[in-house]
Symmetry: D3
Subunit: 132 residues, 6 copies
């Protein structure tokens, strides 16, 4: 059972251990100090056994609530670098955001279920993370 | 080689071993006794060796015919609960429909090919099944 | 300002003034007496002057509420023929559903705004209605 | 001839003539002082006579260059409120951004051509502007 | 009532009244003498009064047949320049192909219906034609 | 990190060891001697460890350059059968094109990264290849 959602957020890529020339060289336009933004699309894929009573792997309404509480309502219309502890010292690349989201969703799911998250930064660029 | 198709069908989620309160609580709007419907999108993914004579894993025209006969023409514009034996005692959740479809397609494919089916109930919810 | 939403519903095309042969001939698979279903996608397009204080033609949150109350929550997971007065004597073709939806939304919008609705019955078939 | 492009940008909705309570009430999450972002999708529609020598209304490569220079390269990975004169005193709602883009493209096109721009703020919300 | 279909075809843009330098300059990669191809997506939009007996503007099954016979089956897997009289002396730009398709469909529709065709050459480039 | 691109190309399916009847029977419309075309969509999926300095698995700008040089600029607006050595004796089915693309991209990536390519021949048909 997979479910799609999205959130709009601003971010900036920056490594505080590098000078501004190196940051500009490596991160290019993504290093703009005034921040820029994305419509992130998130897909959570939950796999496991089908429950014989309900015919569900997971109730889609439950998955929807977890995604809204842990990710979509939390990050929507926010600035990832400025508004959240988790990105104070972690560069908000698509790769790192996906790992953070995976950890937030994973702790809310029953143990027998497996989770993969796919995060689209744009329609043409996306990352996938399954927990290791 | 993967191929996409779709069918429109009505269904209702209901467990006959539960009373109507429990059915309403678990299945919510999907328990509406007058049925409701979906445009199901189906993707069949067939993997295997490339045939050196044709350059094909499977001829797409053959896969199209099998999908039409076993799934798309069979279920299109039908009521899953009322019109088919296979859902008389099996709740037509996306998960269970995907398992039924996988079994119908699997028996029509040559043994050396592997099959995965992806079934979209809506653009935002889908399930995947590979045979176990 | 245009906004997209969707709802799942079952329907059946049938003209009570015709016998069953004529109904089957004209409406084909859509005449199946057990109903079938669609994931309808609806786009409401609202045009007018930009309000100089807000920069909005219409506040998207207001349009979202109107669409949810008048259409999406009302028809979602329902049977159009059985559950609604408006389709007791009106055949629920895409064309007629679009006219009904236009009338429901129109009466909730301020007079100086214009409205067009686009209704997708499937990804390949859709209708558009602007009020005459 | 219509052509699609996109750009990522941060923005914030705010009316400096209102106090912060009124701004929060009217603009909701879009008023977040740390900015948030969008992947804007832009479609430029150019209509006119077909040139008998080329068979073109407008050479798509020319339209692509104009869109890149005037809009896509200009706004991509930028903060609309902070980085551009044109939004210093104009609220960057989708409606106002579309008007600004229309004016930038219009002045680059030959007089006998007509222009409409469609701007998607998200997949579900978009605006259209044809010059009045 | 609008309906979508598609066809794959090869083409080459070339004006026989120009020398090869001018053709290369104006048409660029599209002038490749070995031909190249597109997956064309076609949308036919038919508007008119709703028939009170059927609830249809036009029966979608009829529109589907006309599109298949006049356009989709005719051009699919063909070379537009080499295989068809209509493009022997008419450059197969998206604009000109849309006009040809409009004329083929128009003559098959009843007089009281209006027709617009939208032709996508790629996901990012498309043209629209309504008959003048 | 996955990235999407596309190219338009003409091709023809043909096995020179078979006579024209057998070629027509097996490859159907795809055997048209005048060639036909496709808008191919390509997704390159690159997986591996996240670099702690950058937060990247691979810099998307680098992946974009490699895809453009090895595949998109190379094949766009070309005839696969006539314009390239690699398809002189290899039938350009979607399966074989995907293998060729995988080999071209693989040699440009660092050894610790894994690569999968997905190639869409049409919206409904696609193939996937991971290197064996």
């Amino acid at each position: 059972m997979s479910r799609k959602g999205h959130f709009n957020a601003a971010h900036r890529l920056h490594n505080p251990n590098w000078n501004s020339e190196k940051n500009a060289e490596i991160f290019g336009k993504c290093n703009n100090p005034n921040y820029h933004g994305h419509n992130y699309d998130l897909i959570a894929h939950v796999t496991g056994e089908i429950d014989p009573d309900t015919g569900y792997v997971i109730d889609m309404k439950v998955l929807k609530e977890i995604m809204n509480e842990e990710v979509l309502d939390r990050y929507d219309h926010k600035n990832l670098n400025l508004d959240f502890e988790e990105f104070k010292s972690l560069n908000p690349t698509a790769e790192n955001i996906a790992v953070v989201i995976w950890n937030r969703l994973r702790k809310r799911l029953e143990n027998h279920l497996q989770l993969t998250v796919t995060l689209y930064e744009t329609e043409r660029n996306y990352v996938e993370y399954s927990g290791e």
